[in-house]
């Protein structure tokens, strides 16, 4: 027993938070070697918490009805007791902002600080996806800009017109990210400035009179289809990017709004690809920190029991046939289990572990191994690399073959020697965002002709777009594009056209 308790009972005050923070800081940074952005901890009420996570955890957003809708949904389910509020929300920003709810207990505040301000923070700062794609020091400023820009547009052009653009851009926001951009960190601040300068330059230089000059007309023959597509950079999977740059009828403020939606979507894209790891990392860190606090006598048994209870409830994995269960894994449960398992493999490997993980088993450096994993993988590759037979057995994983021509499912792999690799491969694939998002691309547009935009959905076997939503979304595309839009669903193996959707902008 080295030091006295950080707190006693459930009440907390700022002294408690600060003492807890400092104690956690010693463990996390000195013992665990975490590297974090500076922290900012904000205490909020439950209503403010609802506000915050209504907009995907963005601390500031432009105004849009969909955030109101999400707020009402969350609020409704919270009020009726269907769901708890998140204990915390954390923003990938520098400084890293963690929101704590005022009605958490002292233990929960401590746990949440360890989870968010250290676990998530370390992950944001070190994981390669976040490093590559997001510029943590610029996001808050950018959101501030987005909010005021949209608001200014509303003043100038009316809420309805702005809303129409936002609605359409939101519908495409999952198709507004560069997925394979290489090293191109999203420096929102500079990017913003450069883009605006370029645009105002364009506006200054553009003079419609030139267009009416007689004489040299561009040749009607624009060139071959291949040439045209090459010049437009087609095929293009980032629909919002293409529309922002090429759509012929958009006003420049409309392009800017599309850009805002696109850049925010891009900013959140890494979070989709690393949810399992991010939550696993934060949970592992908080559990480890709380355990150390207990071991060193800084929290009492009651507080530690509360910690155990809350960790085990967030890491609960219902069975597939449980009413709350389903075909997806709880990222907290699986992430935490895998990371704890890595720790075990490093320190007390079994014979099986040595065969499966020769590089790390018995290296007696669990922290280094975990930090390496946190930095260099995303969910898909992490599962592919680190899901061990022991974890598969613990979750009693099995794989079903769903063949719609059969009347029943076939169990084609279980957690046994033959099944491990099959299960691991399939599970990893299910975390591949490229595998799960519909692959819709712009394939052609005839800018000199009828300006029809051609989209193509390369289907995966047996998966077509949900018709109703696809058509509604296509109406939005047509609204932005300004001319007819045609979407063909093409079988990626045979090239056969499976379905065609067409939409034209309404007469307005």
């Amino acid at each position: 027993m080295t030091s006295s308790l950080l707190y006693d009972g459930t009440d907390w005050d700022y002294g408690t938070l600060r003492r807890s923070y400092d104690a956690i800081d010693r463990i996390a940074c000195e013992e665990l070697g975490l590297e974090i952005y500076p922290n900012r901890i904000e205490v909020v009420t439950s209503e403010q918490m609802l506000d915050i996570y209504t907009a995907h955890g963005m601390p500031i957003t432009y105004r849009h009805w969909s955030y109101g809708k999400h707020f009402l949904q969350h609020e409704g389910s919270y009020r009726r007791g269907y769901s708890n509020l998140a204990y915390e929300v954390v923003i990938n920003a520098n400084p890293c902002i963690s929101y704590l709810m005022e009605n958490n207990t002292a233990t929960m505040q401590t746990l949440v600080i360890a989870h968010a301000a250290f676990g998530h923070n370390h992950f944001f700062r070190n994981n390669h996806l976040f490093r590559q794609w997001t510029e943590a020091s610029a996001i808050i400023d950018y959101l501030e800009f987005a909010r005021s820009y949209v608001s200014a547009c509303e003043d100038e052009h009316g809420v309805a017109r702005v809303e129409a653009v936002l609605d359409a851009a939101h519908a495409l926001s999952r198709h507004g990210v560069h997925k394979h951009g290489g090293a191109r960190p999203l420096n929102l601040k500079n990017d913003q400035k450069r883009e605006q300068e370029r645009r105002s330059h364009d506006e200054k230089m553009f003079d419609d009179l030139w267009r009416t000059l007689p004489g040299k007309r561009p040749a009607a023959d624009i060139g071959s289809v291949a040439d045209r597509r090459r010049r437009l950079g087609l095929p293009e999977e980032n629909l919002l990017y293409f529309i922002e740059k090429v759509a012929p009828r958009l006003q420049s403020w409309e392009r800017e709004i599309i850009r805002i939606v696109r850049l925010i979507a891009q900013y959140f894209y890494p979070q989709l690809q690393a949810k399992l790891m991010n939550e696993g990392c934060a949970t592992w860190v908080h559990q480890r920190v709380m355990t150390r606090l207990h071991e060193t006598g800084q929290i009492n048994d009651a507080a530690f029991l509360e910690t155990l209870h809350s960790t085990s409830s967030v890491t609960f994995q219902p069975d597939f046939d449980h009413p709350a269960g389903g075909s997806s894994f709880n990222p907290y449960a699986l992430g935490y289990a895998m990371m704890s398992d890595i720790e075990r493999i490093c320190t007390e490997p079994t014979k099986e572990d040595r065969a499966w993980f020769p590089e790390i088993s018995g290296n007696h450096d669990p922290l280094g191994t975990l930090r390496h994993a946190w930095a260099n993988f995303r969910d898909e590759s992490f599962v592919l690399q680190f899901l061990s037979p022991a974890v598969m057995r613990r979750f009693r994983m099995f794989r079903l073959l769903d063949d719609t021509s059969e009347s029943s499912f076939l169990v084609d792999a279980i957690h046994d020697d033959q099944g491990y690799r099959d299960i691991r491969r399939s599970l990893a694939r299910s975390y591949d965002t490229a595998e799960n998002d519909a692959d819709v691309q712009v394939v052609d547009v005839d800018l000199a002709g009828d300006r029809r935009l051609m989209l193509e959905h390369r289907t995966r076997p047996g998966r077509l777009l949900v018709k109703r939503d696809a058509e509604a979304t296509l109406r939005y595309v047509a609204r932005l594009w300004g001319y007819e839009v045609r979407l063909q669903e093409v079988d990626s193996d045979s090239g056969a056209v499976l379905a065609t959707h067409v939409s034209t902008p309404s007469a307005s």
Binding site: Y14, R18, Y21, D25, P38, N39, R40, I41, E42, V44, E47, Q48, D51, T54, R63, H64, W65, S66, G68, K69, F71, A117, V159, E163, H170, A171, R174, P318, D319, F320, D321, G325, G326, S327, S328, F329, R396, M397, F398, R399, L400, D402, T404, S407, S408, V411, I414, Q418, I423, S430, A438, P461, G462, R463, L465, V466, R468, D469, A472, T473
Partner: protein, 427 residues
């Protein structure tokens, strides 16, 4: 590390977003209510407890796929007893436990769950959002001839039966304290002390002082009464006009053979609309159904709409019946009277003059509003009908009479709005 307390920051950051989503929903609900009328469910909507309206306007669509055919592999947790090669029966619906993420998740994304449940009142509020009975305020004042007493505070004079004892005693006590009227027990104590001093005989100065004090006390007791007329307080009542919140709606309809079922359906819709509308405005709405052919009679609602007659048409008989019932049961000074007549416009030509005269001289003076709807089944308005020729010019002279024609049930609501819509104040 900074700790910032945001709890005192302004709350309701999402207030405007919430208002926007509600405004959007409102638009959708208003459209849905109109659609519901067109689809002929008015009666149910008007009388059911609640209606549920899917908020399609709040969809946020996106491109996403659903597994519909072919093969896929799903990894699940919690295997109990299965071995490789076992078969599981498919869950009954694809949203079941097994690999049901396909339709269950893909199709819905929670959108279908977002519904607005409206109570009947809310529904009707939407329904009548921008409808207003003509001159409603004025007509209520006009009709407000009964006076009712209401409590209006306290006064210093009034009838003995209206004395407010509590207030009176409060006043009296304040006065007694203010004038330092000695209390009974104090006097008794003084007398006792004087008696004992007199008996013992020592401390004469004190005895004298006490005797003087007692004398003053007794004098005060006599001068300051327990209850003085200035203490009296009475409950005050004042007479206020009591608005008549009752309305009666006379439904007049030609049920002769020339009125087809479709015409009666239109009439029914119109009357239902009017009834629901009046119900919104008045606490109590009476309904009187008068049908007529060559003769008129008062019937119940069911008979009114279902029981067909044959024979000629004499409209004035219905107006006569209207006046008879109105005089007998609905005196003008305590009822707001509305009339609505639906007809195909046929009348025996000899009767029309008489009808117009009755309407102008006897009926319009007593009603708040009288609406005439002419229905034609074919959708094509024929030439001017007998009644139209009479009513239409009259309606130009008399603002209380409104006339319109309708041939299709989709038009009913529009026509109703024209008749009962909010008029510009200047008009």
């Amino acid at each position: 590390m900074d700790i910032i307390d945001r709890r005192r920051n302004p709350h309701g950051k999402n207030l405007e977003n919430r208002q926007r989503v509600l405004a959007r929903a409102r638009g959708a609900v208003a459209r849905a209510t109109r659609a519901a009328i067109d689809q002929g469910t008015l009666r149910e909507i008007g009388h059911d407890q609640a209606v549920t309206i899917p908020a399609e306007a709040l969809d946020e669509p996106s491109f996403h796929t659903v597994f519909s055919a072919g093969k896929r592999q799903i990894v699940l947790s919690g295997n109990h007893e299965y071995s490789t090669g076992d078969r599981l029966s498919r869950p009954p619906s694809s949203s079941g436990a097994g690999g049901g993420n396909g339709d269950g998740q893909g199709g819905g994304e929670g959108e279908d769950g977002f519904r607005f449940v409206l109570t009947r009142d809310e529904f009707l509020d939407f329904f009548f959002e921008d409808l207003e009975l003509p001159d409603l305020v004025k007509s209520q004042i006009v009709a407000a001839e009964t006076m009712a007493p209401i409590r209006a505070g306290i006064s210093r004079d009034g009838a003995p039966s209206q004395i407010d004892m509590a207030r009176t005693m409060k006043q009296s006590m304040a006065r007694r304290i203010g004038l330092r009227r000695p209390k009974g027990p104090e006097v008794v104590a003084l007398e006792a002390e004087i008696a004992s001093l007199e008996e013992s005989g020592d401390d004469v100065p004190r005895l004298l002082a006490l005797q003087a004090e007692l004398e003053t006390a007794l004098r005060r007791l006599r001068r300051v009464p327990w209850v003085d007329p200035v203490d009296l307080r009475y409950r005050r009542f004042t007479q206020v006009p009591k608005p008549s919140a009752r309305a009666v709606m006379f439904c007049l309809m030609d049920v002769s053979g020339s009125m087809s079922e479709q015409m009666k359906d239109l009439a029914k819709r119109f009357f239902l609309l009017l009834h629901v509308f009046l119900e919104r405005r008045y606490k109590h709405v009476d309904l009187v159904f008068i049908r007529h052919t060559e003769v008129a009679e008062e019937v119940d609602e069911k008979t009114f709409f279902t029981d067909a007659r044959t024979g000629g048409t004499v409209v004035s008989t219905a107006l006569t019946e209207f006046l008879r019932i109105q005089k007998a049961r609905y005196p003008q000074d305590s009822w707001n009277i509305y009339g609505a007549q639906v007809s195909d416009g046929d009348n025996s030509s000899s009767d029309t003059q008489r009808t117009i005269a009755m309407l102008e001289n006897e009926i319009l003076p007593v009603v708040q509003y009288f609406a005439y709807i002419e229905v034609s089944a074919g959708g094509v308005i024929r030439g001017e009908s007998e009644l139209w020729r009479g009513y239409d010019p009259l309606s130009r002279r008399k603002p209380r009479l409104a006339v319109n024609r309708v041939s299709n049930r989709h038009e009913i609501f529009q026509v109703f709005r024209q008749l009962f819509g909010r008029k510009p104040a200047a008009a």
